[in-house]
């Protein structure tokens, strides 16, 4: 344990400092400062709620639709923040890379940790909403930390891959932006899965982010929503997103490690 600590001592010092700096700089000069961490998802939620719950009435059959919607948006925003935020993180630190040798993964990890802190702040708002509306918490809630871990690993893996790829191919950020826009609608965030054909629902649920959002909604908000195993009618299907996440994690970390040696020369 001591040896392990020593080996990663530098990385840990650097990680803490980068996260701290990121928070210092994030809302600098803005009047409301850190409050924006809460206000942003709340305002977005308000817009979507008015459009989808009041006008389009897509969530009429879901109990506690507002909390259901807010949870989905907050989780999705975390995914977006980690992945899009990371893309230019390596290139953006090019100046540093050329001056000193340090473990490059710390840069990407720091972005991910900052987003995680943001997610926790957002969860405080969600908990308040949960208390007000009196949601139906499932006993499966004990598995919620596992799902959050899955989300953390999945997003971070993509972040590693995208940031390393961006060093060579500067089109990636535009491609990813469009893909995220598409994925937002291809993920059951705004609408219930019952609204779309079963076959389509099966395809959509193969997306790990969709699986995670639906699982957490099931656990925290209402059992009257569909999780991946209900759509497929078997528990075994749960192995698919987990395997995909692990595969991604393995592939991106090895890709990142292989290329990180040359970041200083290529950025």
């Amino acid at each position: 344990m001591g040896r392990l600590k020593q080996r990663y001592a530098y990385a840990i010092i650097l990680l803490k400092q980068l996260v701290r700096t990121d928070f210092r700089l994030r809302y600098q000069g803005s009047f409301l400062g850190y409050l924006w961490s809460l206000l942003r998802p709340l305002l977005l939620f308000f817009i979507l709620y008015v459009v989808f719950a009041k006008f389009l009435r897509v969530g009429d059959r879901i109990p506690n639709y507002p909390v259901y919607l807010l949870l989905g948006i907050v989780l999705w925003n975390y995914f977006v923040e980690v992945t899009s935020g990371s893309i230019s993180s390596i290139v953006g630190r090019g100046d540093l890379l050329r001056k000193i040798n340090f473990p490059k993964y710390v840069i990407v990890l720091a972005g991910s940790v900052s987003a995680l802190i943001n997610l926790s702040i957002n969860f405080l708002v969600i908990i308040v909403f949960m208390l007000i509306t009196g949601v139906d918490i499932s006993r499966y809630v004990v598995f919620a930390p596992l799902i959050l871990l899955e989300l953390f690993v999945f997003s971070l893996s993509l972040a590693f891959f995208l940031s390393a790829l961006f060093v060579r191919f500067r089109d990636i950020n535009y491609i990813w932006e469009v893909m995220l826009q598409g994925a937002f609608y291809a993920t059951p965030i705004l609408y219930p899965l019952t609204l779309i054909p079963h076959k389509a629902a099966m395809i959509l649920m193969l997306n790990p982010v969709a699986q995670m959002i639906q699982d957490l909604r099931y656990m925290l908000v209402t059992p009257q929503t569909q999780t991946i195993n209900q759509i497929f009618g078997t528990q075994w299907i749960r192995l698919f997103p987990v395997a995909l996440t692990l595969l991604f994690a393995y592939f991106s970390s090895s890709y990142f490690r292989k290329h990180s040696k040359y970041f200083a020369e290529e950025v």
Partner: protein
């Protein structure tokens, strides 16, 4: 003296940079390059270092001199682990801290105080460690009352003083220093030299890249001269410094000759 261990060993190091004329950094670029045949691809190999061999002994003050673009900085970056050599081996034993530039990671939007912690972290100091030496750093830099102002409001001299002040606190077995003395007023330069004297005293190994031959003569035990990516002289720092200076005098005289010739022809 003969049994002092080598803390840096560089053996047969080569470094090439592949410089494509049209850098493929877009997806369209990949497709067009994929379609082109090998012969059409314009990639220029630039040799930055050729067959570099030297070693540095523990506690030595080692100079690297050479003109701009000769490959000094590339060599320093390879020693620091920032660049990877194409061929050859490098062995470094002990904690190495590079000062390719002072104030690495300095952010103009942060206050002086916050920058001390950020720069400290990059040099490997935890918050507690920086806490312990914070007052010392501020005193040495002599900018106490500016510490809570944003760095962008500092004069460049103040920034350098702060950066240098942190750097001098870095505990390292080996220090790589790249032309940091080019800035600062006379008073500050004197401080730098005092610091070098101290380094020499406590047995820190220093690899020092500079254009200041007086500094080479005064501080370096040994030196190498790099010219056109190769080592052309190595050994006693006095001789290396003389050779470096002569190189420029020769250049200047040939230049004069050609000019005179051109004039005569014109």
């Amino acid at each position: 003296m003969s049994q002092v261990e080598n803390v840096i060993e560089v053996k047969g190091v080569y470094k090439d940079f592949q410089l494509p004329h049209e850098k493929t950094s877009s997806v369209k670029g990949i497709f067009t390059t994929l379609l082109q045949s090998n012969a059409l691809r314009h990639k220029e190999t630039q040799h930055a270092l050729k067959d570099i061999n030297f070693h540095v002994k523990k506690g030595e003050f080692f100079g690297i001199v050479g003109r701009n673009g000769s490959g000094k900085s590339t060599l320093l970056k390879i020693l620091a682990g920032i660049y990877q050599a194409n061929k050859g081996g490098i062995k470094v034993s002990g904690k190495l801290v590079p000062f390719i530039e002072l104030g690495v990671g300095f952010n103009p939007e942060l206050t002086g105080r916050e920058n001390v912690y950020l720069n400290g972290a990059l040099l490997g100091f935890s918050r507690q460690e920086v806490d312990a030496m914070y007052q010392d750093i501020v005193d040495f830099a002599e900018i106490e009352k500016f510490m809570d102002q944003k760095l962008k409001n500092y004069s460049s001299g103040m920034q350098v003083r702060l950066a240098f002040s942190i750097a001098t606190r870095a505990k390292a077995d080996i220090l790589l220093i790249d032309e940091v003395l080019a800035v600062g007023d006379a008073d500050f330069q004197r401080k730098c030299f005092d610091y070098f004297q101290k380094l020499k005293g406590n047995g820190t190994t220093v690899v020092f890249v500079t254009h200041d031959m007086n500094a080479v003569r005064e501080y370096c035990d040994r030196a190498i001269l790099i010219e056109k990516n190769e080592i052309v002289a190595a050994g006693n720092s006095d001789e290396v410094a003389t050779k470096y200076t002569r190189m420029f005098i020769e250049d200047a005289s040939t230049e004069k000759k050609t000019k005179r010739k051109l004039k005569a022809m014109g």
